[in-house]
Symmetry: C2
Subunit: 225 residues, 2 copies
């Protein structure tokens, strides 16, 4: 369902070039639970951004469901991201002027879902991550871990087929972190959602059916899968 063929990503500025990813080849099947690990700066978020069609590779091909993303129009890319992909960002990217509830509703608005249904669903998702009582608060009125949990609820808003998670438990205590991993695991096992999860936390490796190790923009090794 996700395929990377000889993908490289180079960030260029007038002063320097950064090889964030180099000749990455990767195949992730539908229903897989892939865990991506590697040192800080090794290219994990870049890899996830390419798979999530938030950025284009400098060279090589990214294919989602067999279609090369380079061939998709901006409109088609937007639909793909909206309907198929759920993204939990390393920096949450919540809208500061919207409440937790409204942040979770946002992806559903773009999908044309009714106000009544949006609120019902958003409340349910916030309840699942333990934030029902905080739903009317804005992000800056929430703790770091609470913001992270809103971001997780939002990623699930449109029932994604592919769930991309960038350090989803970085700001959570062990208990909340386990609750979040259970939610993600359930999506994978019960609903067949393909999960691609980036983490530094070695204890999360066990959730995946295979592990991809990145170092300096290259795949160092793949275990399982």
């Amino acid at each position: 369902v996700v395929e990377l063929v000889d993908v490289s990503k180079i960030y260029k500025t007038e002063f320097y070039e950064v090889k964030a990813l180099e000749n990455v080849n990767l195949e992730i099947e539908e229903g897989d639970f892939a865990v991506i690990m590697g040192p800080s700066g090794s290219g994990k978020s870049t890899l996830l951004n390419l798979i999530g069609c938030l950025d284009k590779p400098t060279s090589g091909k990214v294919l989602i469901n067999g279609i090369e993303t380079i061939n998709l129009s901006d409109k088609e890319l937007t639909e793909l991201r909206r309907d198929t992909i759920g993204f939990i960002f390393q920096t949450y990217n919540l809208i500061p002027t919207l409440s937790a509830l409204e942040n979770v509703e946002l992806p559903m608005i773009f999908k044309g879902i009714s106000k009544y249904e949006r609120e019902r669903r958003a409340k349910k998702l916030l309840g699942i991550v333990g934030l029902e009582r905080e739903m009317d608060r804005k992000p800056n009125e929430l703790s770091g871990g609470q913001q992270q949990r809103v971001a997780i609820a939002r990623a699930l808003a449109n029932d994604p087929k592919i769930l991309l998670c960038d350090e989803p438990t970085g700001n959570l205590d062990t208990k909340s972190g386990e609750q979040v991993m259970d939610i993600i695991k359930e999506q994978n096992e019960e609903r067949g959602v393909t999960v691609i999860l980036v983490t530094h936390d070695p204890t999360l490796a066990k959730y995946g059916n295979f592990i991809i190790r990145l170092r300096d923009g290259k795949i160092e090794g793949i275990e399982g899968g």
Copy 2:
């Protein structure tokens, strides 16, 4: 050096009230290495913000070096923060328009340190956190963990006597995390810096000489110390 007497913090809005901290009593001696742990939303960042004089308690007293912070003028508070306290924020709070080097220089500018000395010192600190080659990049050109390491270098810029760390390794891989903890431990052991460190990561507890456990805004227990 840090004392909290019956401290409470209530966040009020027109719609609701949140008891973030309730009757917290705490004494931290000079040279201590205090580790604060607790679930997401338990009040850790709030506690650190009060100690760092970034916010005032709703009731109770915060004393730094025996002086009640409530009695300090804004000017005195600014000097205290600038000269005595180094703060590693949970969300880094880097200036997006400044390079990594300039972000680390910033606290030194307020202290009137010469350009030459500022640059020398900032480069040294970025070198210590392994970011010398990235010093001219802006925050959005750095990975999450790299941004976190810039925030750590910046907190050390003015040789603080008290180092407040809010999840300093949340976005770092094990190796980078250990390097950062070694830096912080060295500040404590070699330079007698008082360290107050908030973390979810139980493996960091061993660095401290005592552990404060928070739950729902109250101190649940104190071990060691």
